[in-house]
């Protein structure tokens, strides 16, 4: 199994604060990984470093074997447009462009603009009828679906989604998750940052961060775990020497915090 993403002891440090502390992680091609944790745990910082939108203070990030720290700004932009599809919690659509134009913007920076293809992408997310509406004329769920269409239009190898359902109601949350399922079935690697147990539960594998430190890892899909281990994949780990940190080669299980809150279960050690 080829590793699409390899994080090697990466840290992001702001003064005395370690937003991400010495994390090592490998993600194979086609895996659906959820990064969970409470607010301020370093999830988004980690996603930004994986998505070439931020650089680690220490350590190395490899995408398809290419070390990102060796790339200049222009090469990083190339990696973003060729390999990565981004879905943000706050949608981030260009406000003066219509839904289809927002999708076409991603095509424009990637290769060649194709309006028909952009409309097909919107059709996939159920928004063909709203293609010529401005973001201000769309609901939150519709805007997020435009974001998903924009993220998948260039058929990226990796979809990075930061709290993709954070601003959505249950109905739209289900639509978005179904879209992710389809993408996953097509072999797209998906990394979702979330603190929603339902969203995290859809992933094959979850890792948990607490104050920037890896504190747990669990698999929701045994077959995927077996395949990963068979291919030489190792559990994620951290070099941070703090209590509760997952430092060795043994994964520390955990219960989803939101699920725990709902069921009253305590975190498993």
């Amino acid at each position: 199994m080829d590793m699409l993403l390899e994080l090697d002891h990466i840290s992001k440090i702001y003064g005395d604060l370690h937003a991400v502390d010495d994390l090592s992680l490998t993600v194979p091609q086609g895996e659906w990984l959820a990064i969970v944790g409470s607010s301020g745990s370093g999830k988004t910082t980690l996603m930004n470093m994986i998505g070439c939108m931020d650089t680690p203070s220490k350590g190395s990030v490899k995408l398809e074997g290419r070390k990102l720290e060796d790339l200049n700004a222009s090469q990083l932009a190339d990696v973003r447009k060729n390999m990565i599809g981004l879905v943000f919690q706050k949608f981030y659509l260009v406000p003066h462009l219509t839904a289809v134009e927002n999708v076409m913007v991603a095509q424009y920076y990637h290769s060649v603009v194709d309006e028909k293809q952009a409309l097909e992408a919107l059709e996939k997310v159920g928004l063909k009828d709203r293609a010529h509406h401005l973001p201000g004329q769309l609901s939150g769920g519709e805007q997020q679906r435009v974001c998903v269409a924009r993220a998948l239009i260039n058929e990226p190898k990796l979809i990075l989604a930061d709290e993709p359902t954070g601003n959505l109601d249950e109905k739209n949350e289900k639509i978005v998750l179904d879209l992710f399922r389809q993408l996953h079935q097509q072999g797209t690697t998906i990394i979702v940052v979330t603190h929603d147990a339902l969203v995290a539960g859809c992933a094959e594998r979850e890792i948990m961060l607490n104050h920037g430190v890896l504190v747990g890892e669990k698999w929701n899909d045994e077959k995927a775990r077996e395949a990963y281990e068979a291919a030489g994949g190792k559990p994620a780990s951290t070099g941070a020497q703090v209590e509760g940190a997952q430092t060795g080669e043994t994964a520390i299980g955990f219960a989803d915090p939101t699920k725990a809150a709902k069921t009253g279960d305590s975190l498993s050690e």
Binding site: G51, A77, Y92, L97, E101, A106, Y109, E115
Partner: protein, 435 residues
């Protein structure tokens, strides 16, 4: 759709779907362009207008027959007047008038009579105050001093006598201008001494071979014959013109019984380099004429116009600098508001240069639209100012208009460089996190 098509689609969407901000940017450029164009037009037009106004105060160049040679007696013939005028006209705008001077007697007293083309003299000397009418056939216009000396009024009669002996000397001795002369009248009256008035000068010439008393020959009182003319008007300039009797060229020819060339040509030349024009005429020795600048008028012209020009340019530069700061700040602020959009585009894989191109072209468009409208408004303002102040309209300067529009576009682009550069230089995650 091609990528170029998408580029323009994004551009037009940014302009037309963000109308309020686009209007703000266009208005900022418009104000800048209007101010710039109006001031520049005034800076260029006002000195020109002032120059033309100055020209209305008489000649700044006089041409007389060369002092040496026999042609001096015959004056400057009409072909040479035309040739000299061509030379002056080749260097800029010109107005001219020619004068033929003769020594005449009124009640036996010597005076200077000038034969003129009324239309030419009228056109050249706007500052002359004429009470009554200009000369016509059988009618003369006399200077205020002559009228006062003889108690003449408009409609009165004057008998003018001509004696060949009075004009026996070179005609240039009657009409040769002084080096600092202020025109034909000075030229005629000051004579070679540059100090005497017309009567005295003429008297001196006439009496060169006869005994005199109080400037008049002893036989003056004996001879009062001549041709009778009616006084059509009295001219009052406060200068030496007030001592001269003006008649039409035909009347002077009839009175003297001879037709000859003129003694002085006065020019109001619009050339920027008057001395070069004088030198070029004097270099043509075969023309047998001598050109001299009227220093008094020329230097005051130059001084006032230079002062005005300097004042306008200083005011213009200060206003321009303030306007550019205003335009720059507005455009810069509008671009800064789209910082998150720049971050998003970077996150989608746009290179800094691609983002820069989009924003710079958009800013240039604001500058271009604002520049075009502003230039038109600026011209209207400049036109209105010139009509209100100088009662004259100004021509549209296409080069200046093109420069004004181009500068507006340039300022808009330059103003957008810092915010675009700042937003594209940092990681997109940092920009997006700021929202």
């Amino acid at each position: 759709m091609t990528n170029t098509g998408m580029f323009f689609r994004m551009l037009f969407s940014a302009v037309f779907r963000r109308r309020s901000r686009a209007v703000m940017a266009v208005v900022a450029s418009l104000v800048g362009a209007a101010t710039l164009f109006c001031l520049a037009m005034i800076c260029i037009a006002v000195p020109q207008q002032m120059n033309e106004e100055m020209r209305a105060y008489g000649a700044n160049l006089i041409v007389t027959p060369a002092a040496s040679g026999t042609d001096g007696k015959a004056g400057i013939d009409s072909a040479m007047v035309a040739h000299t005028t061509e030379m002056v006209a080749a260097k800029g705008s010109e107005k001219h008038a020619s004068y033929r001077y003769e020594n005449v007697r009124v009640n036996a007293a010597p005076y200077v009579m000038a034969g003129i083309d009324v239309a030419e003299v009228k056109n050249l000397n706007h500052h002359w105050v004429v009470d009554g009418a200009w000369p016509s056939a059988g009618k003369v216009m006399i200077g205020r001093d002559v009228a006062d000396a003889m108690g003449l009024e408009i409609g009165g009669r004057i008998t003018i006598g001509y004696r060949a002996a009075d004009n026996a000397g070179s005609s240039t001795s009657t009409s040769a201008p002084s080096a600092e002369g202020a025109g034909a009248a000075d030229a005629a009256t000051e004579g070679e001494t540059s100090t005497a008035n017309g009567s005295q000068s003429s008297s001196a010439n006439v009496s060169s071979s006869q005994p005199t008393q109080d400037g008049r020959v002893s036989s003056d009182i004996m001879d009062t014959s001549g041709t009778e003319f009616r006084v059509a008007g009295i001219v009052d300039t406060g200068g030496s013109e007030d001592s001269i009797i003006y008649a039409t060229n035909d009347d002077v020819a009839k009175l003297t019984g001879t037709t000859r060339g003129v003694d002085v040509i006065e020019y109001s030349a619009g050339t920027e380099d008057l001395n070069a024009l004088v030198a070029s005429i004097n270099d043509m020795t075969s023309m047998h004429v001598k050109a001299q600048p009227v220093t008094k008028i020329t230097s005051s012209d130059t001084r006032i116009i230079t002062m005005l020009q300097t004042l306008f340019w200083i005011v213009s530069l200060v206003v321009l600098a303030l306007t550019l700061v205003g335009v720059g700040t507005t455009i810069s602020s509008i671009v800064s508001q789209r910082r998150n959009e720049i971050g998003l585009r970077k996150a989608l894989g746009a290179s800094s240069s691609a983002i820069g191109a989009e924003f710079y072209v958009e800013s240039a468009m604001y500058g271009l639209i604002g520049g075009l409208i502003g230039t038109a408004i600026g011209f209207g303002l400049a036109q209105w100012l010139c009509v209100a102040v100088f009662q004259r309209s100004i021509g549209f300067n296409w080069w200046l208009a093109a420069a004004s529009v181009a500068l507006s576009a340039l300022v808009a682009v330059v103003a957008s460089i810092p915010p675009v550069h700042r937003a594209t230089r940092i990681d997109p995650a940092v920009v997006l996190r700021e929202e």
